[in-house]
Symmetry: C2
Subunit: 315 residues, 2 copies
């Protein structure tokens, strides 16, 4: 813990893939490189000013309507300081991509604020503050994106009451390839189409896969990871919202992906791969199919990012 | 693999705890010491003879109605040998206890037959043969008891089609204490009272716990194991079939158990504990409550048995 008060910090929080196929609302992992950057400057007067939001999306600079503003206010209130903060946010992730765009903004805000005011909060508290942003963005205070965006790596949200999050070790050669087809699927909508009830026998198959995926990650058993990456409950419903989902994932599997799934609530589609070479081949397979389907898209090839939110510049 | 043909083998397969709270139909572990013993002797003529079944229960010696007979027949048919086998089974586990009684008989048969005829089958095939016994005993070919009874340790049945079973490492100090209240709860009946549908939000909490339990076992995180030992789906229904269930488990938790659950389909109740001393205290806590409740019972304190089915004597 560093108690030295800083005048200004610049931090970064990564994009993330939540759900990870069988692990709906529980599992998530951070993606390298792509993410949101935030500069926070302490002011001598109270209040939160969002000076600018740049990059993709069209987010409000009203601190009551912007997730960074809401989180910063909550943290200042908790600290009971007669100070404020001036924020500049640079989005690296398009909102509505399914890559934890709001979570990255939430995570980077919580992390930067904590650094700026001398690290008064625990990592778990940072997750809780960041969940306020998720609540504003999607109507529910989920942690499956903010956990990896803050903590890095592969995370599991075991429980919300009380909040119980743990990290799962990641095999050395585990890569992901993510394609973001640039169509809009709103988190709230894709949540509302889910059935409220599931068959017990289907739920059993799903938690069998959760057991397999966690065991595969711990034991670096790539085959087991691949076999476990089947979602019997959410994917059959949500994949209908993603044009070409079946073709994209089939092509990725043919190119050697261990498995595929919907990233968060979509429309992004992720695959996990053993090794960088395979991940690049899967990127080619995604690209080939997306071009055929006439979809505009972005592609990311990344290790599972060991680091989550972090300082990239101090003044 | 040992291809030497034996004339007679004597084998043992342990009792087991299936479901393990959150891991319904998926997880299971083997219990030390208590289990079934089987002596198998090759005969020069075809056919299966069940010479004797001793110990608790009242099982048929008709090879078509006894699970050992059914499994031995299937294995002989697969081997296409003009030989047969004469079997003596000694039950160590009362049928209907929820401690994998039929699974132990099934496992010990599959294991002994394989040894007797020179180990022609893989471990996975032994599980498949043993599943025939489960089908006869309970109407469904489950593997969550036979897997630990054959393979030992903590096992997960990720999938049935195809059959995919893996072992999960067990922390050094993990013990279980199991109480078997001597009342009858038939597997088929306790299965029929389960609801066919579950709430998605409940299923999510359940697989969050499955993730936590598997991660806790891999990382020797006893607290995480304990926090994950909650079953939101099966226990609330099945525990009503077990008199004093709530009192027994509450007393075990007060005595230091990490968590409790129904063993298999009951009526046995298990707890997991850190260390032998705590497991013994939990045995006292179970005993105290069972005596108060006026229940006849057996109690077992055991490490998670690393070894499953095994030869205990060769001739």
């Amino acid at each position: 813990m560093n108690n030295e008060l800083k005048k200004k910090v610049k931090a970064f929080a990564p994009a993330s893939v939540a759900n990870v196929s069988c692990g709906f609302d529980v599992l998530g992992f951070a993606i390298d490189k792509v993410g949101d950057t935030l500069q926070a400057e302490a002011t001598s007067y109270p209040g939160v000013i969002i000076e600018s939001v740049t990059g993709p999306g069209n987010l409000s600079t009203d601190p009551d309507k912007n997730i960074c503003g809401v989180i910063a206010k909550a943290m200042l209130a908790k600290l009971d300081l007669h100070q404020g903060v001036r924020i500049r946010l640079t989005k690296g992730i398009l909102p509505g991509s399914g890559l934890g765009s709001s979570a990255a903004s939430s995570a980077v805000t919580a992390f930067a604020m904590n650094e700026l005011f001398g690290n008064p909060f625990t990592e778990k508290q940072l997750v809780e503050f960041a969940m306020l942003g998720e609540k504003l963005a999607s109507g529910s205070a989920h942690a499956d994106n903010v956990a990896p965006a803050i903590m890095g790596g592969f995370t599991a949200v075991r429980s919300y009451e009380p909040l119980d999050i743990f990290k799962i070790p990641v095999p050395n050669e585990l890569y992901c390839t993510v394609i973001h087809p640039k169509i809009e699927v709103r988190t709230e909508l894709s949540r509302n189409i889910l059935k409220k009830q599931v068959e017990l026998k289907t739920a059993i198959k799903q938690w069998g896969n959760v057991a397999g995926l966690v065991a595969g990650l711990y034991s670096s058993n790539y085959d087991l990871i691949g076999r476990s990456l089947t979602d019997y409950i959410i994917e059959p419903v949500r994949s209908r919202l993603i044009p070409g989902y079946f073709e994209l994932t089939q092509n990725a599997l043919l190119a050697g992906a261990l498995g595929c799934g919907i990233s968060g609530s979509g429309p992004s589609v992720f695959s996990l791969c053993k090794g960088h070479e395979t991940a690049k081949k899967v990127a080619d397979a995604f690209t080939e199919k997306a071009v055929l389907l006439g979809l505009p898209f972005d592609i990311y090839v990344s290790k599972i990012a060991e680091k989550g939110a972090r300082i990239i510049d101090n003044e």
